[in-house]
């Protein structure tokens, strides 16, 4: 350990994070959301959409959950009324039930007594089938990784594609993998996080990104399997379990063998103005799904630094990492699936900015030694001067190598100028390759002076993080969020989008997915 962090201080930080999270976990356990219920029904086997609706395709899960809510509320969960209705109407599949429901032929009620027991059993069996698919996918990933191998080096090289058209994405992703990418992320269409439904089918018209749909997931994973075989290493696929449909997207990722998902405990609240309670409930469920599916989550601490100052707010990143870690552990995610995020966002004009970056990056590395940390490139200080940008990205890569980061998102010199050209990606990868080739082992020789600038700075940030955690414990996390502690955004607990989709659970609430996921796999 290079920073010689005081184990007492580290333990205090973790204890405070756990205490700060405790009331929020209790709230998450006491509520459900429309999206959690829809995710449960997706696990139980509902697929497809109602294409006859005049507003456009409405996924069947939305039709069913909305109707259940209208008829008997969601406080008992959707599973009981749905599986009770299935039996009452003697329907073969949930899709038939959805169609009947859309035609107004179904009246949902909460069953009692033996009816309840029967509905519960049927729901549990259906959800268990969905989870078996998730389990099979996890086993399949392990098999393919064993066959084709992991990337030969750390950090893994993470590249983004975002054309809006899944077919074009496939072309770009294949090329990126051949050029050395170990992880491909498909950016979502702008605004998908605020849709309260998951679009259906293969899509070709996104805005600055491609819609996350089950079919798009399937297409891209299949393409990457082909190219993995060709390049002789398992190329991982990433998407976004965030926004109003986070739990459903997590389920779809599990069903289609995605490998990493962006999944931050507070991002939606802070940067998308999604209701805090909605987010924490959806978060917990989606993390349970990711734990089951063996999916590495990527948290979004980098975003704080794009709004707040990266030096002054460095400790808020540490605080958020500690909170994300606690929420993840609580939901069953082990350290090796915990891609905590951080970023190289200090203004290059600040004196000793690179040493400050090293201090912050090393602090994250030493606080979370077993987590696959995700290291995010500069965006805020990319000016359009692509020559400066290329140099800055080189220093970013060097910091990543020197501090042992695990997943390196490749920076583009054309950040904030254009969507990357083919050549931008190629040059960016050349930059990474150069640094890895020239200094891949430099970490061995890197020993910051015991009382030097880097060590002192890391201690200072950790100290500030502990102070802030103390204040959050006193204030309550929800109040801290409401007061603008993170990323300068003020988000009151009763505000934000999707609040109407939160339901307090009744005493007889039943959700077989939650029950099955609560038990360690």
């Amino acid at each position: 350990m290079l920073l010689d962090l005081d184990p007492e201080v580290v333990a205090t930080a973790r204890r405070l994070a756990a205490r700060a999270a405790e009331p929020v976990v209790a709230i998450a356990k006491a509520h459900t959301t429309v999206s959690v219920e829809r995710a449960t029904l997706r696990l139980a086997g509902i697929t497809g959409a109602d294409s006859t609706h005049r507003a456009g395709d409405v996924p069947w899960v939305n039709r069913v959950v909305d109707t259940v809510r209208e008829h008997c509320g969601l406080e008992h969960g959707a599973a009981l009324p749905v599986f009770h209705a299935l039996r009452q109407h003697d329907l073969g599949t949930l899709t038939e039930l959805a169609e009947a429901c859309a035609a107004g032929q179904v009246r949902f009620t909460v069953p009692e007594g033996r009816d309840r027991a029967r509905a519960e059993k049927a729901a549990r069996a259906a959800v268990a089938r969905g989870l078996r698919t998730v389990d099979r996918n996890r086993a399949q990933r392990e098999k393919l990784v064993a066959r084709w191998g992991d990337p030969p080096q750390r950090p893994w090289i993470y590249l983004i594609v975002a054309t809006g058209d899944i077919d074009e994405d496939v072309v770009q992703a294949r090329n990126a993998a051949r050029a050395g990418a170990d992880v491909i992320a498909v950016i979502r269409s702008t605004g998908q996080s605020l849709l309260d439904y998951v679009p259906e089918g293969a899509t070709h018209h996104g805005f600055a990104g491609t819609y996350a749909t089950q079919e798009n997931f399937r297409i891209m994973r299949a393409a990457l399997d082909e190219v993995s075989k060709e390049v002789g290493r398992y190329v991982r696929l990433t998407n976004y379990a965030s926004g109003l449909c986070m739990p459903e997207i997590a389920v779809l990722a599990g069903l289609q063998r995605l490998d990493m998902m962006l999944n931050d405990s507070m991002y939606g609240i802070l940067f998308r103005d999604i209701n805090p309670i909605r987010t924490f409930v959806d978060q917990r469920f989606s993390r349970q799904v990711h734990a089951r599916a063996g999916i590495i989550i990527n948290t979004g601490e980098d975003n704080y630094l794009t709004t707040a100052d990266a030096v002054q707010a460095a400790h808020t990143v540490t605080v958020s990492q500690l909170l994300n870690e606690h929420f993840a552990h609580e939901a069953g995610l082990p350290d090796h699936l915990l891609g905590l995020g951080h970023a190289f966002e200090i203004d290059p004009k600040v004196p000793e900015s690179f040493r400050l970056e090293l201090a912050h990056a090393l602090l994250a590395r030493e606080l979370f030694p077993d987590a696959p940390l995700k290291w995010m490139p500069p965006t805020k200080h990319m000016t359009g001067n692509v020559f400066d940008g290329y140099l800055l990205d080189g220093f970013f890569n060097l910091a990543g190598v020197l501090t042992g980061q695990s997943i390196l998102l490749v920076g583009m010199m054309t950040e904030a100028v254009v969507t990357p050209f083919l050549s931008d990606r190629d040059l960016a990868l050349a930059n990474v390759r150069y640094v890895l080739g020239a200094a891949g082992g430099l970490r061995e020789d890197f020993r910051p002076a015991p009382d030097g600038f880097i060590v002192k700075r890391a201690h200072q940030v950790l100290g500030e993080a502990v102070d802030l955690l103390g204040r959050i414990v006193d204030d309550g996390l929800l109040n801290a969020i409401a007061d603008g502690t993170f990323g300068l955004m003020k988000r009151p607990a009763d505000g934000g989008k999707g609040a109407e989709g939160v339901v307090e659970k009744a005493a007889g609430y039943c959700n077989p997915a939650s029950e099955l996921l609560e038990v360690p796999a």
Partner: protein, 247 residues
């Protein structure tokens, strides 16, 4: 400054430029020749392909140096002068503090049946657009985002209740000119309800013509590609102009 100028490499008038591009041609002598031809047609002559390398099997990347034969006539340079300067968030905040001595209130919505909040969210959400933070990020702006499918009377009511300085509406759907009809309806409703004391009215969307503001009865129309910074800078400019008229 002379009237006629050429690019400057290391000697006055040498015309030297450098450029880089990719062609969908496999790496090799033919690719380099193709790059030279393109550079010649761009006016670079003689073109030196100082570097080329393959990107995959089908593409080649080039770096080209050489003198351009074109000459710039500075008297023929026409630039569109924006009537207001582009301000940084800090400058916007400072200007609002000075002008109003309180926060500037912005109410935003998608009106009518339009459920596409992409545009209004890109401008208002802190996440922002094109590398710029949204208006929520500005300390001196109070942003109230009413979201999608807001009826016009509700928008007027909320704008009044919030004492809005500006109302931003976003319209993406253009079927049967819905965006134009909705915007006119909104402008008329504000005129009727508040007269000259109405807030600044701003419409935005990919299919709007920025020159149509007067015809639509709004103060400003923003088209495709507008960034939050432009909107914020405009707000400062418009509030300042209004105060000057009132004074």
């Amino acid at each position: 400054m002379k009237r006629h100028v050429r690019p400057y490499g290391d000697t006055t008038g040498d015309g030297m430029v450098q450029t880089s591009f990719t062609l969908p041609v496999p790496f090799g002598p033919k690719a380099d020749g193709a790059a030279r031809q393109l550079a010649n047609r761009m006016g670079i002559d003689p073109a030196m392909v100082v570097h080329s390398h393959a990107i995959g099997e089908e593409f080649t990347f080039f770096v080209v140096y050489g003198p351009v034969r074109h000459v710039v006539d500075l008297e023929q340079v026409r630039v569109v002068e924006r009537e207001y300067p582009l301000l940084s968030p800090a400058e916007v905040n400072a200007a609002v503090r000075k002008l109003l001595r309180r926060k500037l209130v912005v109410v935003g919505a998608c009106i009518g049946t339009d459920a596409h909040t992409v545009g209004i969210d890109a401008i208002l959400n802190i996440k922002g657009f094109a590398g710029e933070k949204g208006l929520e990020y500005y300390r001196e702006l109070k942003v109230v985002n009413l979201g999608a499918q807001v009826p016009v009377p509700e928008l007027v009511r909320r704008a009044r209740a919030e004492k809005a300085d500006a109302v931003l509406v976003s319209q993406v759907v253009t079927q049967r000119d819905a965006h134009l009809l909705n915007t006119r309806e909104m402008a008329a409703a504000f005129r009727e309800a508040m007269g000259a004391r109405r807030p600044l009215l701003i419409a935005g969307g990919p299919r709007f013509d920025p020159l149509a503001a007067g015809e639509l009865g709004v103060d400003r129309v923003f088209g495709r590609g507008t960034t939050p910074g432009e909107v914020a800078s405009y707000l400062v400019h418009a509030v300042r102009s209004r105060k000057e008229v009132a004074a």
